[in-house]
Point group: C2
Chain length 78, copies 2
């Protein structure tokens, strides 16, 4: 069974670079990657915070949040 | 031809978690992943900084540095 990886972003330039390089590099044979735009899909904000996401872009894998560079604090999206 | 991805770390707990989840998730069919421990391999510090690496763990892909969470500033490794 594939593991799930969720890439949270908000459309910022830093987010787009991270999505194109990092999220797209994840092995599709082992991971199912979901991309969530928290700026337009605010209903997922609580879920993202529950995973420990504090800023975007962030990648949640194996139950841990990995923050990539710094695009925007999650509070700015509420 | 495979792209090259270089994961720079320094053995910190944040680095190890990022290596195990993020670096290991990269598609081996498309990327050749090199893992560099900057704490023990200080000869690679200048190269890492030239790629724009400011802290570890960081992943350099497609010529860009992606900093993951925050383990240690690169100046602390010199």
């Amino acid at each position: 069974m594939k593991s799930k990886a969720i890439f949270y972003h908000a459309g910022c330039p830093v987010c787009i670079a991270a999505e194109q390089s990092l999220a797209n590099a994840i092995d599709p044979a082992r991971y199912e990657v979901e991309v969530v735009h928290l700026g337009t899909d605010r209903a997922r904000l609580d879920e993202a915070e529950a995973f420990g996401v504090k800023s975007v872009p962030a990648l949640v894998m194996d139950g841990s949040a990995f923050h990539v560079n710094f695009g925007a604090g999650i509070d700015a999206l509420r």
